[in-house]
Symmetry: C2
Subunit: 246 residues, 2 copies
């Protein structure tokens, strides 16, 4: 591997390309969801399973916080925990997700207890926590860069759900609406951290690998949902593909 770091104008497009090729906006399950092709039970399965990810996000951010020695960095990162857990005048992202869960007909207690959670979703989300605990700080931070790709999918989701599903309205989709505002603020700071620290080619490659890992774990959650509740046969990006003739 060359020791010369990529200039910013070459490194940034490499990050963005991962999103274009691997972000879960490309997953057929999202196409079905946003296109109004899922029935009530399938939407419930998505809301219930995705809640495990939502509920683990502040634990992930707390684990990350516990590894940051710089108080200024901690002060900036702390905001993410507040966004999910809430605070004065803000019920928080987890509560907003529970409003959505009730709107699609799920029992709040069942969702909170993760009853019926797909093991594949659990393993993927737990891998995220483990990654953030074990890897270098720059990799742990870089795994949040998928927020670069989030606003597009949230806009598509809000429009698609409003158009196709009775449960969708301003109140029940507040989670996504709020993330449209929060994610760009969060990711601007993340990007600044990462660009400042990725000062060798090796560290830049570690950043790209962390973003790829994150896209894998987002995709695997939808694979588990699709396998359990829809139908097809489609290997995720980068996975082994049998030759056509078999």
């Amino acid at each position: 591997m060359s020791d010369v770091p990529w200039p910013r104008e070459e490194f940034l497009p490499r990050i963005r390309r991962i999103g274009e090729e691997r972000y879960h906006s490309l997953h057929p399950f999202h196409r079905l969801l946003h296109g109004g092709k899922l029935n009530r039970g399938q939407v419930q399965a998505w809301v219930l399973n995705r809640f495990y990810y939502q509920a683990r996000i502040p634990l992930k951010d707390a684990a990350l916080l516990s590894r940051m020695e710089d108080p200024a960095l901690r002060r900036s990162w702390r905001k993410r925990i507040e966004e999910h857990d809430g605070g004065p005048g803000n019920e928080g992202g987890i509560e907003r997700w529970l409003v959505l869960a009730e709107a699609v007909g799920l029992d709040r207690g069942r969702v909170l207890r993760h009853e019926g959670l797909l093991p594949g979703v659990r393993f993927a989300v737990d891998a995220y926590l483990q990654f953030v605990r074990e890897r270098s700080l720059i990799e742990a931070i870089a795994s949040s860069l998928t927020e670069l790709f989030a606003p597009a999918i949230h806009e598509e989701r809000i429009a698609g759900l409003l158009k196709h599903y009775d449960f969708a309205n301003e109140r029940t989709l507040a989670y996504f609406q709020r993330r449209l505002k929060e994610a760009p603020e969060d990711v601007a700071f993340t990007l600044e951290c990462v660009l400042e620290r990725a000062d060798t080619r090796e560290r830049q490659q570690a950043v790209l690998d962390a973003v790829t890992f994150k896209t894998d774990l987002l995709w695997a959650q939808l694979d588990a949902l699709h396998h359990a509740y829809v139908v097809p046969a489609l290997p995720p990006p980068g996975a082994f593909r049998p030759e056509q003739d078999g």
Copy 2:
């Protein structure tokens, strides 16, 4: 929860029932594999992905070993690492699996590097390592009790592969043949450890939960394979099921 432990004649059937209801011998992917219904590419996908599990088993056992304070317990458990990594007069389970991999047409180097591994398989297997590192010693040990159910599936597999696939012969299936001998020895010791330590109802329940967790991670590996390389739509045991009407 009652504090009175189940008598052995009630506790043991509870362990066995988990196997009857949740062991991956019930997964449709295994039915297809053992029934000769998979094409070459699908068999390759299974061999390549399952190798990640094989390769992680000795790391799992070493992690467990590193938590055993009793030298006598370590001496008995150590055998498992040798079974996989090999030793004098024994090439070991990993090498035997690589022989199978080459026999189905995979490149040994590619398999060793886990190229094209399904992320869902990686997350499930990594969850196993994490479980063994983090949970109580009795839970970590109990997660190996699925070996109680292994001989039946290995016998079915050897017979099914020999009947249906050209690559199958005594040499290429040596891994499974050897496990027919090793697994019962291993599990007899595991069961003794567990029965001795599970002296409260709470610990017995923790043992049952550990076995259930293990069946989940085995099942999730096949779900990932089935989703990527076969077809259907089938939630794993215990997972959320949409109501029939949608």
